[in-house]
């Protein structure tokens, strides 16, 4: 008698893929120097987290809440990036941090 084989499931592979997306997105958001790319990293991490929730069988309400939060983050982030460009003339974090250090030094001297 041959035992019936367990049905193949893509869930583990999908879960691993979703977790990889989260890791890549979080790393991009923290390591990259361009503010727009960091924002894109956040989107990737958010999509990965939503995909992981779906694979793990979370209810629809969880996905809705996640999408709403991700949308709010991107909207707010885009607005801040525009203001950064206006105020600093750049969206590169190294230049922005450098300008802040100069502002600090000027503030201490005055």
């Amino acid at each position: 008698m041959i035992a019936a084989a367990a049905p193949l499931s893509l869930d583990p592979a999908l879960a691993a893929f979703a977790c990889a997306l989260v890791v890549i997105g979080v790393a991009s958001a923290l390591v990259l120097t361009n503010a727009v790319k960091r924002l894109a990293g956040l989107v990737i991490a958010g999509i990965g987290a939503l995909a992981a929730l779906a694979v793990l069988g979370a209810p629809a309400g969880a996905l809705t809440a996640g999408v709403a939060v991700l949308f709010a983050q991107v909207a707010l982030g885009a607005a801040i990036v525009v203001r950064l460009q206006e105020s600093y003339g750049s969206v590169a974090s190294s230049e922005i941090d450098g300008a802040d250090l100069e502002d600090d030094a000027r503030g201490s001297a005055s």
């Binding site: 979703a18 977790c19 989260v22 997105g25 979080v26 958001a29 923290l30 503010a35 960091r38 924002l39 990293g41 956040l42 991490a45 958010g46 990965g48 987290a49 939503l50 992981a52 929730l53 793990l56 069988g57 979370a58 209810p59 309400g61 969880a62 809440a65 996640g66 709403a68 939060v69 709010a72 983050q73 707010l76 982030g77 607005a79 801040i80 990036v81 203001r83 950064l84 105020s87 600093y88 922005i96 941090d97 300008a99 802040d100 502002d103 600090d104 503030g107 201490s108």
Partner: protein, 487 residues
């Protein structure tokens, strides 16, 4: 008749505590003049604080259960109620304090900033009153995004807070992705998303559950500014004004720490994951205590010094939670009160005279004696000086730590206090024993009313240290009632 309305309000207090700030925020945005909108904000915040304190008193001191059986079902537990009352009181004091600086932030953000503070407080309160982990996530993000918005709209005179707001967004966004992933993992492993089910759940996959709980804590630690995840806080707060210091540095951090305390109190009592969770919390707490203390010692910016002292205090909260006992939870709640009072007194005293750097503190006591008194009380509490609430919080932690055999934790707290003596003493020496080399603004430049919250916090810092009985009782009852009182 009035008594009946009071009972009705009490029965729906958890809902009112969330709705009142939201209604206040909405009314502010349509109210027009800045001063009018500030008065509305004050009314909403004070009303919310009265409801919250009354509810917490009834629940924690008289141990009765006044929650309505009908209407929107919110989940009420001891830690949630205690922390929500603290958030509501801090919100009321912060809103009153920022009144004098409304015009500084420019015409357009003037009504928006207190509205964002109210909305943020509603978010944190919601997270303290929810049973579902998904609702907790949504509420935390509402509170956090309001804090990011508050920082961004107040980058008017100085552009640095804008950089801080972007750091908040990216670090907090990364934290929220990890938190969402963690919620999915924990829910899958525990078989549900109810926070109160964790201690009793039959967890089928402890490793998955432990990883999920750790990711949730990581996401919350970013928002609470726990080291080494606090890269946003010195940038956002260090050169910001009163709105950012009080709305983000005090209210936002307190909200995040409170939610972290509540979640950790449930997760650490789950038998399958409790031990590992405790080790992770203790490690993170110890790191935060040390990093915060070292950075505070080296800081030359007064607001950043306060931020780093808060990081160290957050580490003490995590160490208290890591003990995993009711005594540890009560110590964590006392640390939260100590953080809130010291932070309000410190920021309020500094911002009343627009003092940012340590050099500007020279001779501050002669120019601004009341503000100097507030800073002194905050500094004494941060260093854990006896007869202050800071001492009480740390003493409770040492007591609980020694009781559990965690001598190293007690040692760390003592080291943090010694570092506090160094940087706090430096502030006191500059204020009282040096002469001002440059003329800076004193207290006269702002409304006296703006200094009142800082003085109230300073007096509370000392008064609670002298007569701590009621607060200790409330904290002890709150930690015992953490298993939930919902109908």
């Amino acid at each position: 008749m009035n008594g009946a309305y009071l009972e009705l309000a009490r029965a729906h207090a958890p809902l009112l505590m969330i709705v009142t700030p939201l209604v206040g925020a909405a009314l502010m945005l349509i109210s027009g003049p800045a001063r009018m909108s500030w008065l509305i904000a004050c009314a909403a915040a004070v009303f919310g604080a009265v409801i919250a304190v009354d509810f917490a008193t009834v629940l924690l001191m008289q141990l009765t259960h006044p929650v309505a059986e009908v209407g929107v079902a919110l989940f009420v537990d001891g830690i949630g109620v205690f922390a929500a009352a603290l958030v509501a009181v801090v919100l009321a004091l912060a809103i009153v304090a920022v009144g004098a600086t409304l015009k500084e932030s420019g015409a357009s953000p003037a009504p928006l900033s207190p509205a964002l503070m109210l909305a943020g407080a509603a978010g944190w309160t919601g997270a303290l009153m929810t049973r579902d982990l998904i609702a907790l996530f949504a509420s935390v993000e509402a509170g956090w995004l309001a804090a990011v918005g508050l920082t961004a709209v107040n980058a008017v005179r100085d552009r640095t807070p804008l950089n801080g707001a972007f750091r908040m967004l990216t670090l907090g966004g990364a934290g929220s992705a990890l938190m969402l992933l963690g919620i999915g993992m924990l829910g899958r492993a525990a078989g549900g998303f109810e926070i109160d089910a964790l201690p009793l759940a039959q967890i089928r996959m402890p490793n998955l559950a432990g990883a999920g709980a750790a990711l949730i804590v990581l996401g919350l630690c970013v928002k609470a500014g726990v080291a080494p995840l606090h890269a946003w806080s010195p940038v956002a707060i260090g050169r910001g004004g009163a709105m950012i210091a009080l709305g983000v540095g005090t209210l936002g951090v307190l909200g995040a720490l409170s939610v972290l305390t509540r979640f950790a109190a449930y997760a650490i009592t789950a038998p399958e994951i409790g031990a590992g969770f405790s080790v992770a919390l203790a490690g993170l707490g110890a790191l935060s205590v040390v990093v915060g203390a070292v950075q505070a010692v080296g800081s030359r910016n007064l607001l950043r010094l306060s931020v780093y002292a808060g990081v160290s205090q957050a580490g003490c909260v995590l160490l208290s939670l890591a003990l995993g006992s009711p005594a540890g939870f009560a110590a964590a709640l006392m640390q939260l009160v100590a953080f809130a009072a010291a932070s309000l007194a410190f920021y309020g005293g500094a911002l009343a005279g627009r003092v940012h750097s340590l050099d500007m503190l020279n001779g501050y006591a002669t120019r601004a004696p009341l503000a100097s008194g507030a800073i002194t009380a905050g500094a004494l509490s941060l260093m854990g000086a006896p007869l202050t609430i800071g001492f009480l919080g740390r003493w409770r932690l040492v007591e609980a730590g020694v009781g559990a055999g965690w001598w190293w934790a007690a040692g760390l707290v003592i080291i943090a206090s010694l570092a506090g003596v160094f940087y706090g003493g430096r502030l006191v020496e500059r204020m009282y024993f040096r002469r001002a080399n440059v003329t800076y603004a004193g207290e006269g430049g702002v409304w006296r009313v703006a200094l009142a919250p800082a003085l109230i916090a300073a007096i509370a810092t000392i008064a609670i240290g002298l007569a701590p009985g009621a607060l200790l009782n409330a904290a002890a009852n709150a930690s015992r009632l953490m298993t939930g009182l919902a109908p």
